[in-house]
Every structure is written in structure tokens, then in C-alpha cells.
Symmetry: C2
Subunit: 252 residues, 2 copies
DNA sequence: TTCTTGAGTTAGAGGTTCTAACTGGAAGGT
DNA sequence: ACCTTCCAGTTAGAACCTCTAACTCAAGAA
């Protein structure tokens, strides 16, 4: 992702022969081609998991696959294009796990654990999305669409849970009323109410929007610090910190 | 930071002649050497700010300074060693701004704004510390010491503020009492009480520790997402989101 | 069967980090 | 004042990298 061109993302060279026999989706060559492409990506993921995305080498991948470097340029126009596709796949994977969790009836807590599990399964894949950005790089519309899809699942889960879990943990006495007021929340919600063009006309209330954003950023805070190893020197269990932050998020 | 050796961090080659005239700290050569070193680092920061740390090129720096590539190896043993030193400087810079803010009487909110200001001033510097980690890399004792120093100022500010700001925002009715209970906080604080070997015997209570950690991770969540541009598509003001998260952090 | 397509090859340009050997001037010791 | 040692910066080159151009040659299509 060094040179940062838009990266087209429409796989290597072959282009002209789009229509030959019209139908017939899988010619043997196409199948071979698709298989090699996925094999390249598998090796790429393996390399990324081992040494990070910046250390990804097309030459090394080619060598592992028993061919020479330039051969890969039949399948990906450049190193950046390959990485861009891996980024898109990472987004797709996260969106799918979110969707699957939601389909299984997961609430916000369920999504949270799905997120952490997904992140821990392959830290470098998480950082491919949420790690250090390349200054000039602008993600293709492809990934912004998937990012919106992820946000949508999050918003769905946010509206599903009652704004305050009915009486809450403390229960009983006093309860409701202004219950702590929280004017700053109201303030930011008012701001959100005026700047919610991005939510695709979702039925979420401004309070839901705020909670979804808080959910996202707080969990990202815990998870990214954990994955980056910033807690390793300290003796506590990151999972318990995560659980505490999550509970704090749901308790309101 | 590709190859990930410990990186020694004791500048280039010259080593034997440590004691010549015993005193006399600044020989003209030493001063020249120090000046060139800082000049190299200045160009490095400039490059990092422009294209990220992964795009940092010793050759390019040398060319900018009017010399050939290998000359820089008189000053830094390797590209990794230079980057490691930049990372250390970044930590040092953050620790200093924190210390300065605290010396100016800044409370937790003050530290929060100091952090965000520092991050916005040079996003890539922030990511040099909190961005994508290199898998095999282990930070030298140097930076872990500075990280501990940062945590210490944070803990100082955490103990300075009363556990609950006296009556809180809502004020008056009901107030205190179990005030929402928050058993999950207690739970994690109990865990922290048993795993606080890392805090250097700080006088902070487990509740202070928990709040310092929450402060750190939540603000990192907001700031890193903002710096990485994950909010750009959405129309809201990141500063207001930051303020809301900060207020939520202080209101308890 | 012939023709065309394209996967993979080698050659090479230009980039990188980094090592080795050399040069020349400045600093230090006598 | 001379001599010696040190060292900043040089060139040469090895070993990597991405990526282009031209060429094979086998497999699929006609």
C-alpha cells in the first residue's frame, strides 16, 4: 500500500474476452485461474499473519508456489492491488461474522464477543482494517459499502436493546427519574440528530446512534490495545477488562 | 521495523574511545555528529508524516541531505534502529506533554485534551506508538520505562479526582446510595487488586486503576478511529464525540 | 488440424537495505 | 610542526524488492 493508486481491483490483465459463448460460466481456464488466485491470497494471509502486511512479498509468495515472481502479475496488477483485495476480504469477513452472529439472535453483547473473537483469531487481519492508515490511501467504494453494512448490523442491535435495561442493575429505589441526567449524552445526540446523513436512513434514534458509536470506539480501544500488546507488561487479564468495558457499555 | 532485532539503540559504530580526556563533554566532532543525527531524524519525521513509517527510506533521507545512502550507517546501525529511536522519541514526547499538562494543574480532562492535541498534531507519530504492531518486535526497556511514566501521570490524575464528583451532574435527589451499584466495576477492580504488580507500587486504589485503564482505552478508541479516518464518511464532528466520551468517563 | 489465447518464463530497469574497502581531511599526541 | 590515528563520506557490489517487456509453449477454441 505504498504507492496508493486507486487500485481498480478488477484482477490482472485479461479483459477483452468477456463474452465468448455468452453463458458457460466456468471454463476450465477460468476455474484454474480462480484457484490460483485464492491460493495466492492464502499464502499472502499466511505471510501477513507472520510478519505483518508491510512485509508481504510477491516474490516470496511466488517462490512458495513454485513459480517465478512476475507470474503473479497475471493475477494481480500490483502488490497494492493484492493488499487492497485482502483488505476488502477482511471487511467482508468481519461483516459476515457480524451478520451471522445477528442471525443467531446475538444482542450487542453477542456482537461484542463476536468482534473480539474475530480479532483474536487473526490480529493482523484486524489491523489491516483498523491499524495504521497509509496517508494518501483512499479506500475503494467497495469497502465503504461493507463498512456501512457493518454499521447497519450494529445499529440494528442498538435499537433492539431498550434504551435503559428496565430498572437497570441497581434496581428499585429511585431508579428512573432523571437518573443521573447525563446532559452530555443529550448534547452529542442533538449533534448527531443534525448530522446523520451517513446512516442510510436507519430507524435508529439519535440515542441509538450515539450508543452504536460508543460501542464501536470503546471496544476498538480495548481490542486494539490488547492485540498490539500494550497490556502485556501489566499482569491483568485483558478478557476481564474487555468484559468490564462491555458491561459498562450495556448498563445504561 | 521489518526484521525485528532488539536494535541495541546505541547509535552507529564508534565505541572504543569513550574516555579520552575524561571530562570535556562536547568535542567539535561530537557536536557535529549530534547535529547530523538530529537532522537525519528531522527528515525521517518529515517522511513519516508524509507517507507513514513503512515508506521511510534511508536512501531518500541521504539524498535530501546531499549525501549518499551508506553515509547514514555512520549514525544509525540500520533502518530498524532509526525507527526504534523515533518510536522512543515519540513516547518521550507524549510523556513530556503529559507531564507538562499535569504540572500546569491539568486534571483527567486536561490530560485527555493534551492527548488528543498531541495526536492530531502528528497522526503518524501517534500511530508509531499505538498503530499496527510488528509481530516479532519487542520494545526495548527504554520505551517500557517511558510507558510506565505515562501510566504514572495518568494514575496521579486518577487519584486526584474524587471517585464520584460529589453529587454528580444530576445532583440532589436520591444521589449517592448504591447509585446504580455497578457490580461489574467492582468485579474487575477485584481482579485488578490481585494483579497490580505493574503499577510500581502506586498509591492508586483498584478503582483508580480501573478508571485509568478505561480512560486510556476509551480515548485511544476515539482518537485512533478519528485519526485513521474511520469517521470521515459520517458527517458528525469527531471533537464532539470525543467530548461526549470524555464526559461519560468523568461522570462517575 | 490450425489458430489463438494466455500462463509462465527469462532479462532487465530501477528501487531498496546494508557490507566492504577505500579516500581524505580533521583532531589529537608528541 | 609533524605524525598518527580516527572517522565522515565515498564508491562498488551483493541480495533483496516491484514491475515491464519480450518470448515460449501448451492448452482450448475454431
Amino acid at each position: 500500500m505504498e504507492s496508493c493508486r486507486p487500485a481498480e481491483a478488477d484482477e490482472g490483465l485479461p479483459r477483452k474476452k468477456v463474452v465468448t459463448v455468452a453463458r458457460n460460466a466456468a471454463s476450465p481456464r477460468d476455474r484454474y485461474r480462480a484457484q490460483v488466485r485464492t491460493e495466492i491470497k492464502e499464502h499472502a494471509w499466511q505471510q501477513i499473519a507472520g510478519a505483518g502486511a508491510s512485509a508481504l512479498s510477491l516474490n516470496a509468495i511466488a517462490k512458495q508456489m513454485g513459480m517465478t515472481g512476475p507470474a503473479l502479475y497475471r493475477y494481480f496488477g500490483s502488490r497494492d492491488e493484492l493488499i487492497t483485495e485482502l483488505v476488502t476480504d477482511a471487511y467482508r469477513s468481519l461483516a459476515d461474522t457480524f451478520r451471522a452472529a445477528a442471525a443467531d439472535g446475538a444482542d450487542l453483547a453477542g456482537l461484542a464477543h463476536a468482534l473480539r473473537g474475530w480479532a483474536l483469531a487473526d490480529p493482523q487481519r484486524y489491523f489491516l482494517i483498523y491499524g495504521t492508515p497509509v496517508p494518501g490511501y483512499h479506500a475503494p467504494d467497495d469497502v465503504t459499502a461493507i463498512a456501512a453494512e457493518i454499521m447497519e448490523t450494529l445499529l440494528d442491535a442498538a435499537v433492539a436493546v431498550p434504551a435503559r435495561p428496565a430498572g437497570a442493575a441497581g434496581a428499585g429505589e429511585g431508579a428512573e427519574k432523571g437518573a443521573h441526567e447525563r446532559s452530555y449524552e443529550k448534547s452529542f445526540e442533538a449533534h448527531l440528530a443534525e448530522h446523520r446523513s451517513w446512516d442510510g436512513g436507519h430507524r435508529a434514534t439519535p440515542a441509538d446512534l450515539r450508543r452504536a458509536l460508543a460501542f464501536w470506539s470503546r471496544l476498538h480501544g480495548v481490542v486494539s490495545l490488547e492485540l498490539a500488546g500494550h497490556f502485556t507488561g501489566m499482569g491483568f487479564d485483558a478478557a476481564q477488562f474487555f468484559a468490564a468495558e462491555l458491561d459498562g457499555l450495556l448498563d445504561r
